[in-house]
Structures are given as C-alpha cells and as structure tokens.
Subunit: 289 residues, 6 copies
C-alpha cells in the first residue's frame, strides 16, 4: 500500500482501513448491492480502468485499492500513477481486474475517495503554482471535513502544501480569546511555554503590528499568525519579524490573492478553503465486462 | 435534539453522536486542547454566539449542539434558528453559555459541521431557486463525502432538495454495465424486478431515446435516468415517457443550466455537485469571556 | 465468499465479518478455549464435516467459513452445498481441514450461525411450499432478532421468500397511529408522498374495506397492507384493488392458513414468525482428529 | 435500570446499551423513520402501554427502557412489571409518555427485545414447571443466537433456569474429541485440571456407564454430562455418581420428556432449544396520541 | 499465531488484534511516522532482531508479530523463542525481514507489548522459583492494568502462575461487605450457591480462624481466601481446612515472604503485584538496514 | 469532570470514557457481578471512601468518577483531592454515596485506574524531587502501556513531569537507523525539515560529541537527545550546545542517578521507567453499607 502513497509521506493503514470500512458500510447498507446481485452472474469477470476526466493532482489511490480489497481479496489493483502525480484529462490511474460484481459494487466508494482527496490536492497545487518562486509555503488549517482530517491533510501534502497542526493537541495556537483571559500577549505566551513539552511549538495570532511587537519582545513564540492583514501590513510584519519567528498569513486567501501575499515575504499562507471548499476532481471507472 | 432538525425530517441521534465523536476524537487527539488548558483558568465562564458570516441555508445545528454537550453537559445551547432556515449574513444561529474551556475546545468541530452541511444546503437551495415554478425537484446522488452520507443527504433536504437512493441497497439503479451483462434492457429489468421486494423501486439509466422506448415497452421501470442528454432530447424523452414513469435528468448539471433543464418537464434533476463540491458556508463563533 | 451465497443475492463481507467477530468474542471470552488448550497438542490436525442432521434449506455457509478463517487463516473450508440449497438429513454441507485446535474452538459459533439462519430459510421454504402455484410471495417483517436483521433477511431470501423493508428508512409504511395524527388516510398519504424521494415506495395499513377505498381513491399508495382480515375480506380487497396497487396480507399467518390466504389472490403474505420464531435447524460438525 | 432486572441477577448496563444501539442502528438506518417524520408533527405527544398479548414470563424490560431513552431522554418509562414476572394475556408491562415521534420510532426495537427474551424466559419457565418438585434444574447451553448470549442467558434465569458456562473460557467441558486426542478419560481430565485455575470447574461428557466409571475413578471431574442416554441409563448413572459429582442430562430434551428425565434424579437438564428455538412472546405497544 | 503462544494456553486472535490496533492507533496518530517517511526511501529493506537485553521469561511474541503484520503483510516474522521460554540476556527472540519503513514504525509498539508482558511473566516466574517444591501455586488477581486483563492473565501463565477469576462474572468471591449485608457467612454462601450455576465455583474471604470454621461448617465453599494472615495463622488455617476446600493466602505477598507462606501448606498464593507492579523487561530491536 | 483534573491540563472526556468502558467490559464480562447480585439486595445503599493507603501523588480521579457514573447515574462522587495533589497515607480522596450494588461492582475498576495512574504520578514526582532546583525537567517517553498512552502521559504531568512526543506523528525524532539510511546527520536533518510543517519540532539522537557537533553545524535541530552518555560527556555536550538547542539526557536514568544528571545542566531527562515500570500506588475503597 505504501507504494501508492506520495513519496516522503505516511498514512496509517489503519486510518485508511477505518475510513474505507465506514464508507463501504454506508453504501452497501443492509441488503448490499441489489442491482448487481440481480443482474450480474456470479462468475462474470471484469476489467476496469480508473481514469481522470479532468486534469489535476492525484490523491487517494490507496483508499481506492483498499476499497476493492475489502470487498474481494481476489481483485487485482495495479496503479499506473502515484499519489501527488499531476495528470492530464484522460490519464489512466489504475487498472483493476477480477470478479465483476465486487468491482461494480466498490466503484462509487473508490471514486468518492479519489474525487474528494484529488480535489483537495488539485486545489492545493493551484495555490502552490500561483506562488511560483516565492518562499512561502501553502498550508492547510483545522477547517476539515468531519471524520476525514488525516486523509485531507495528506491530500494537502500530495498537492505540494504543508500541514498546519493536526488537532488541538500537537501545537499551541493562542488566539484572541486566550490572550484576553490570560491577561495579555506576554502572559499567554509564558503560560503556554510553561505548560507544554519541549517538542511543542507555540504560535500566536495577532491582528496588529503592535501585538506583533509584543510577541517579538517576549521571545516566546515560534510562529506568528498574521490575521486578516492587507499586503502592506503583512510586508511590514515580515520586516519586523526579521526571521526571528515564522510568519503565517491567514484570512480570506484566494487563488487571486495568494501571489500578492506570497510577495510580502511571509513564510506560510494558510487557507481553510483547501480542505473545506475544494471541488471534487472528476474521476471515473471505465468497465469492460 | 429533534427540535433543531428541519421540519418533516429525521436524523438518528446515534448517527449524529457517532459523527460528532469521531470529529472530536480527531481534533482533541491524545493530549487535548493544550492551548486552552494552559491559558484558560478552570472556573472561567463564557458566552458565545454562533453567527452566519454569509447568507445561506442552515443545516447542522444538532451536530453543533451535540459537540458541546459531549464535551461538557453543563453547557447551555439555545438555538435561535432551525435547520432549513434561510438566513442573512450576520444572523444569530445559537447562543451558548457555560464553562469557557470546553466552549473554546469545541468551537472548530461545531463550525466544521455547520459550515459543511450548511454549504450543501445553501448550494441545494440555489439550484431550487433557479428552478422556480417548474415541477422538477432537485436531487442528490451517491457522490457524497465518505463517512458523511446520512448527514449530507439530510442537508440536501434542508436546502429544499429530495434524496436519491441512500446506498446500493435501497433501490435498484441499472446502469450500462448491468444492461450489457444481463443481455439487454428488458432482461435487466426483468431480472431486477424478480429479485427485489415489493417495496423497492427500479430505475434504469438510458442514454438514447431508443433505449427509453425499450424501457417503456417493458413496463418494468419506475424511474428512468436520462444520462447526459441535451435539453431537446430531454424534452422529447419527457414527451415519450408521458407520465408512465418518472424522468430524471443527470450529468453535468450546473446552476447555469438547471433552469433550462427544468423547463423540459423532467421530474427530477440530480447533481453530484450538491454533495461533492459545495463550498463551505462561513459560520463563526463569537465568544465573550 | 460470494460463491457461498445464494444466487442473485448479496451480503456485505463487512456485515458477515462484524457478526462473526461479535459471536467469536462472546464465545472465546477473555481466556479463550481452555478445554482445547489443555487437551489438544499444538500440532494436531483435524478433518471435519459440516452435516445437516435434519432436512431443510441451508443459509449461513459464508458465516461458518468466516468463523474458521478468523480463528486461523490456514484452515481450508470447502463448501459442498450453497446457501438456498434444499438438503436431506445427513447431507454434507462442507469439509474443513486444518489445525485441530481452532476447528474445535470455532465449532459452536459456526453451528450457531448455520442453525439459526438455516432455521429461518427452512421455515420460509415451508411457507413457500404451502402456497404452491399461487402468485403470492412470502415476505418477512421487521420483527427480527436484534443485531441480525441483514443476515435474517438474507436467510428469508434463501428460503424463497422476499424482503419487506429493511428498516424504518427505506420505505414508508403508514399505520393507524400515523393516519390518526395526520388527519386521515388521504392526508397521511399526501404528507408521505411529499416528503420522500422518487425512489421510495409508500405502503399503508388498512383494517377495513372502507379504508382501502380511501387509499384507492387517493391514488397515492404503492402497496396496501391488509391487516388481520379473514380470507373473505381479503378476496374482496384484492378485487377492489384490481391490480392498481400491491396487496399484502398480514396478521397471524401460519403454515396452516397460508395456502388459503394465498388463494385470495393477494400479492404478498408477510409473517413475523419467519424471523422471530423459526426453530433452529439441527446442523452438526463431525470431527476426525 | 437495575430495578427492572430480575431479583438476584445482573446485566451490565454496557451490554444492554451495546445491544440496543446495534438494534436501533439497523432499524433507523441512514434516513431514519421517514414515515413518522412525514406524518407526525414535532410537538405531538403520546402515551403508550406495553402489553403482553399472550401469557408468559417477562424478560427484557431494561432493553425496552433503554431503547426509548437513547432516542429521546425526555421519554418517561414506568415499568409495571419486572423481569421474571409471570403475566397473563393483556397484562400491562409498562407505561410510556413523551414526544410521539421517538415513541413510534422505537416501538419495533423495544418489542423485538421483549418478544425474543420473554420467549426464552417463557419456554424456560415451561420446562421448569414440568419438573415440579424434582431437584433437577433446567439449564441452557452455548447454542445461543449470535451476538445475544449474555442477554439470552439472563432470560433463562428470568424463566427460573440456571446457566451453563457462558463461553469456552469460564469452565472446562471435555467432549469426545478432546478425550480421543488426549488419550483417554483420565488423561484428558488430568491435563485439564493441571491447566486451569482453582476457580474453574471441570465437566466431562460421557455416553456410556463405562465412561462414567472411568470419570468417577479419576476423581477429577466436578460435573458429568450424560449425553443422549435414556431414562433407565440416566437413573443408573445417577446411582453410580452417588452425589460424588453433579450429573447433567443432555440431548434432545423436550417439554414432553423433561419430567421423566427429572425423575431419574439428575441434577441438571440442559436444552439448546431454550435459546435457539424459543418462539417469540407476543408483546405489543398500544399508543394513544 | 498459535505456535508463538505458550504450550497449553490460548489467546483469542481477536483479543490480540484489538489490543495491537489500539496501540498502533495511539502511536501512529493522525500523521503517522513522520520521521521515517522523511528519511527512509520507499524501497529500503531491513533485517531486524528482537533481543532480550536482560534475562527473563518471555510473553507477547504473538502481539509483536501481529504489530508488524498489521503494518505491512509482506514483513516476515520468524520467532526463535516461544512465550514462556526463559532466556538469558542477549537471547535472540525473533528475526524480522522486510521493508524498512514499517519495521521502524512498528518497533516501539511491538517492544511495549513484549516488555510489559514479559515483565509480568518474569516477575511471576520469580515468585514460582521462590516456592520451589512446595505445592502452592502462584496466582494473579483482578488488579490488572485497565484494558489488558486477558493479555496480563496470559502472561502470568507464561511465568508459571495460575489464574484467579478473570472478572466479576466467572466465579463468586464473597468479601466482608457481602457477608455483612447478607447477614453472615452461612447466609452469604447459601445465597451465592443458590444463585449461580453448577459450573461456578464459590470462594469466600475470611480474616479469622473463627470465620474459617463457619465456612467449613457450611460446607458450601470451594475455596477460602485467607486475608492478611501471618504464617502461623495460615498454617493453622490449612490444618483446619484439612483438604476440604482450597486455601488461598493473600495480602502483601512479596518475593521475600512467598517461600515462608508456601511452607504453611496453602494451595494458592495470590499477589496483585504480579500484574500491577511488574517492571518491564528490557527487550530491544536491533535493525540492520 | 474537568475540576478533577490537574490544573493546566486536559484529558478528553471521550478518552476517559473509552478507557473506562473497556475496563468495565473486561471486568463485568458476560454475566456481570454475580457475587453482588446474589448477596446484596436491590435497595441496599452504601457510603464509600476512596483512601490512599500509602503516600503519593494522585492521578486518575476522573476515571474513578466515570466508572461509577457509567454503572449507575445516581451514584454521587465527591472528590476531596484533585489530580496532582500530594497526599499522605490515609488521605481521603473521595466520598461516594449511592446504591450498594454498583458501588461494589465498580470498586476494582476504579481502583485499578487510580492505582496505576497514581503510581506513575508518584514515581515522576520522586524523580522531580531528586532534581531539586536544577533546571532540568523530568520527561516521559513512548515506552507506555499499550492502550493507555494518553492517560499515562497525563499522569506524568500530574507528577510534575513534562511530556515527550505523544506518538510518531507529532514531532520528529531521528535515530541512528534514520541517520544511517539518510546518509548522515546533516542529510537526515535536512530531509526531515523539508518534509514537516512549521509547527513540528525536530529532535535528533546522538551518541558522541562528534555527532553533536554535526547537529550544531547544521543548525536544523530543535532538540538533541544525548543517548547513554556519562555525566562528564553530558556536561561537555551541554557546554557545546550552549543554549542553541535543547539537550535531553536519556538512557538508564534512575532515582539514584537523576540528580547527578540534572547537575550537568541538561534541559530534559527522560526515563521510560516512569510509564513502563512504575509500581501501582496502594489505594483502597472503604465501604460502609
């Protein structure tokens, strides 16, 4: 399964299996594929091709492979592309051979994974392409589809993006409410630093240059999230930060604005849209029976 | 919980609970909300408002309510809108009171449900509005996000759409491959009818008027899916069908084309985009501590 | 696994696996098979025969096969019959070879599935046989054993019956209480039709011919459930329905009464007893060590 | 919940909850109760009575109560009987008040538990009644419905029976195959005794008096299972055993034969039919809206 | 998998799989092994040796094997020892070959199982060795690590100990509180005997010789737990019991005191420390890439 | 529940519930608490005190509270201490009132959590105390008990320690094998930095000062793990690091050696023993019925 994943990435086989089982359960329901059972004789064989109907960046081949494997171990799934590959419309992604019935029954679940995850990878690759040679990295958020976070974060990496924290537990991100209750920027940063281990990074959200200066003065943050600033202010923030901490631009970033934001010199540009609003990539299964 | 659902709909409390638990588990991870634990004192209270930042149709309030309830039973969640309500930007959706820490910890999960499901409801409502007084109903497909089918189908209903089958098991949909293996339209329909119970409807996909005539001649189908036909052919198909079976137009339907398709007189217009490509609705949680 | 299922049927491999895992967990408990561990040496091999002790209709071979596979992948399970086969007492159902210990440990779970499901298939086949050449189909209900609905509905098909709805969600069945609250037969039917999609059938329960006439007048029902009517009234109901909707006779149907009911011309005869009161079929595992 | 259980018994609340959740999931499916959603207005209230339609022994009230509680916490469930109570036809088992919709939606699941478990309790009570004043206790086996063992064993206790082992792990039961491989009765008993802890009892199956003598000579067994012996041989076996170990008669015990078997003086009479072939008890829910 | 288990023991493959999946899930988390993904090329192969760093008694090889198998089916795991084997420091336990990445990713989970379970087996073997030729058996308790009881009880057997009851359900153990509420030793024993089946043993805790005499007089107990008695009193208790019931010494047993306690003639010596306080055995994975 | 947790910490209520359910399931088994069912009348009430028998640092009160709540919602659990409190022998931890039966049934599970987690907290606090005023923090590892990592890491914080990474996914830790395959220290660090997001820290293990110099030269690591160095080498390593990265001493740290290691000036001292070899703290439940 590992050879289907994008190079340098990881996805737990247990995470893939769990997601695929849930998807199969909700599609097969109680009575299963009643159309195929009624019309396809038991011995019928099929050959199928997974094909991209539109150009894009692929993610989710391991989920597709696991879908067919869970339905029938005798199905052969031979990938012709690998996650993170950029493909043209019409590109052959995989060839599938085996009993016709389980191939037909698994088609929609496999395509739903591939379409959803490739959609995210493709949108991410679009942002990355806009940035061109600027140093900024495109970054996701925690605005993910419920139940699919690990897979969606992986799809962002397939598209050339990097991952923000995976959850509330693997990095500190101090927001305005935390600052308010803690009694100020410095106090919030000190409390956070004192509470977490040596392998946890601390990021803090600021919405003004004054706040940024407080953060810099404290010397306690690894990353600063520059919230909803225009490019002029972002550029000034980058100048102030001066490499002492990473700068992340966030808030309403679009394909139209990302290049200009990248030009300000920020290190990271994060966009919830990568995971919560990416349209599905059109992928199809062409079957010869 | 039922009073948060759209009138005339149902969502199993167990389905809601299962989805919310999975989402909380993936966001809280192993160490939980380390930022809030470090910066918010145990006794701090908060009042929060769920607010729509953009106009749209709401779906998912029960998921949001359950999110906070699972984190802390003492949180009060008072809905000010109900699923399926159309709202303006700035509309107050719910008021939340209780301990500050679990409100902050649950914010993102609650918003991810509301944004995703309201996005689907809003897009569906957009299609419905385009159709105006035509009799056609807007309909979803099985092209849903893995793991969220029941919730997404519910969101389509909140937006004024109707549901296609929920899975492979609750209705027959005979496609080209089934027809090919079964030996023709009539044979496939007869096999399907013989195999399924009296409460299962049978739909068949056709891509030509000749096939439609075969379907009509057999008298065995309840619904015909008219695949990727232009509006001229759709109108002719409707004329041929003449009310003897339901007609469903499908294939590349967009907000731009849906009105013209409806004008052909079809009964149903189905679009995978409703569930696989709806952008999230922007919903926020404004917290006063 | 599919080749063990009755022709033209489907059972999700995930449903089978889930049921078998639960059954193994409750039988093996925490310490496992302490008798076999104490008395059977590790290397011992066994050959076993699954044999029907009584005549009947077989269902559940895939569950039996999966039981042994989950205990030890090296066990060979070769079916000699297929689900839905009618067998005589003494018939060989399957041959099993492999390590003795897991064969002994899996025996009871495999037999419990086979006995229970074959019992349902056998009772169903008994009803079907009584009907003879009448057109009526024997049909199950939602009166199933908690946790086993998909398997039991499958067993009914193995016995030659057809399935009623699988749950509250895949068809409408309007009963007296729904009619009362909705304000009458016509109102209830109209509300139901308006609420559900084009692939959902609508059935309504009536207990008088007057109600049946209301249903017919509305033209909104696909099926009518004729509740607890005697055969005279059933025959009159069939005459009134006149093929405009399917007729289902229900209520206290027994092996003694089913032929007379079928003779009234109803389309379906449903009986809860098929799934809630079928005695187990006696199946045994004869082991040679 | 404990006050609904039979006196002197226990059922884990987690076991009840798990079984009820599975049953609700399979009945509500993905779309939930579409009939009730369409026809019952949100605010409608209902009062319902759980009533036995036939005389019998009740088991499963805690499952019924939990069904409604999981659907809506505001439903009030007031038991009027307790598990193990013997009731006449028409007896009121419980009164239920609350929102009409979830009461209608939970009706079938609650009745399926009550009918199935009361069926087992009633059949057990029938066997117990036949025995009269003889000392023999009626006992279940491991021939239970997959997934419901703990509940079915509890139902046997409700009917006045006692429980055999719950699984392969809580007692030793040496059968003919174990004896054969171990090298004889004495060897098998010695191996078993040496392997298990001081809180595990050892039973051995014999099919002849010669074997029984071997068992007695070894002094290693707590219980002997007398397999398929006629009453003459059973009486002789009891005489031989002479109180030195418990005697269990097993094999084809029926309501007709149980009294004669009890008269032989055996300590226990076990019957798989109690759990694998008990017909459901007819229980209904009468609803006033 | 069975061939990795200690002779004469059993561990459900489903119990092993469940525990290993949970452990892998908590170690791999959402993003998986990011270090290995970043530094180890996809095609890299590895050979690894599982080695004991300290002398001890091995338990858990099947868990280790399953860890690697769940990560990648192509990994070969060849055991060189078997559970319950006593090994010297440096002993080779198993050889592992396959793709480098999953071997590195599974290392810690495999070692955590082996270290924890071998720690328990080693401590148990230490107690057993102290007892020497005395007849007493070393016995565990229910003081186990939450979630690991079946595995820990198995490890005790690997170390030469025997198992006390596995839970509250497989044997009766009457303690002081039960006696007090039941109205005395005799009453509690009678109630227990009357309530449980013929395959359940009854043990009762006493803390004085007077209580022991009551137990003996009742003739209803199989085992008596002698709680926190000194060796003089224990010896007197054994004399009184005179083989009529099994005697179990319990309370603060240590490696220093166990031999003296065994010398009193008790049948069993139980110690919670075996499972709740055994230090981990140092086991390592030496990898050649 | 939050008020039982140590100040400034978090534990997901879903993590607690999952662990407690698993523990209750394995203790109650199928038949439940048969001793209590037999001897304790339904209406009996009890008052109980959770008491520390030995001095220590408390962790796990929320698990204990949840145990009783899952068995019976009417049980009142009033904590008298809070996690992370240091207590003397005899200290009252909580008072519990309610029905006697579920209090008796939950006793062992509650104590197993409290004993295990307080054992870890107490051992951690012992290490922390040895360090005194040195700046080093005591730190756990991934050598945790399978299935309990989140709870054990929390217990380490209760004892005054800090947490190392929670899994393979939330920080990079490059070990010798990674270095070897990657082609050297610099290459491994560069690959890791390039692969992970901006919120992930990078640690690398070195076993010589030469390697440390390579790490420092690269400027790519946040933390260096100084593996199995003696205090002289550790002190030299700290001098070389000169605050440019955090230093972590690891390998065979004991209560005897930890003070000397802290005196070298390292930032962190990690010890697997904290979680894999901490003896349970003796906690008891004194019940008055």
């Amino acid at each position: 399964m590992h050879e289907l994943l994008a190079a340098g990435t990881f996805l737990s086989p247990l995470v893939i299996e769990g997601a695929v089982r849930r998807a199969l359960d909700e599609d097969l329901g109680r009575a299963g594929d009643i159309t195929t059972a009624a019309t396809i004789p038991a011995g019928a064989k099929a050959r199928a091709k997974l094909v991209a109907r539109k150009p894009g960046t692929i993610a989710g081949l391991a989920c597709a492979a696991r879908t067919f494997e869970l339905l029938d171990e005798s199905i052969s799934f031979r990938a012709r592309k690998r996650d993170s590959d950029k493909v043209e419309a019409g590109a052959l992604l995989a060839e599938i051979d085996g009993p016709a019935a389980p191939i037909l029954s698994g088609e929609r679940v496999a395509l739903n994974f591939l379409g959803h995850l490739s959609g995210i990878a493709t949108l991410t690759a679009g942002y990355v392409a806009k940035i061109g040679n600027a140093k900024a990295r495109v970054c996701c958020t925690r605005k993910t589809t419920p139940g699919l976070r690990a897979l969606e974060k992986y799809a962002v990496r397939c598209g050339g993006g990097v991952n923000h924290r995976y959850g509330l537990d693997d990095a500190v991100l101090i927001k305005d409410n935390h600052i308010a209750v803690a009694g100020g920027v410095r106090q919030a940063l000190e409390k956070a630093r004192a509470a977490v281990g040596h392998l946890v990074k601390v990021e803090i959200e600021v919405d003004s240059l004054a706040q940024l200066k407080e953060v810099l003065a404290s010397g306690k943050a690894d990353v600063v999230l520059l919230d909803n600033m225009d490019t002029t202010m972002l550029a000034e923030a980058v100048r102030l930060a001066d490499g002492k901490l990473k700068t992340e631009a966030s808030g309403g970033v679009t394909l139209e604005t990302v290049a200009a934001i990248a030009a300000t010199g920020v290190d990271l540009i994060s966009a919830g849209a990568l995971t919560h609003s990416a349209p599905s990539l059109d992928v199809a299964l062409d079957i010869e029976l």
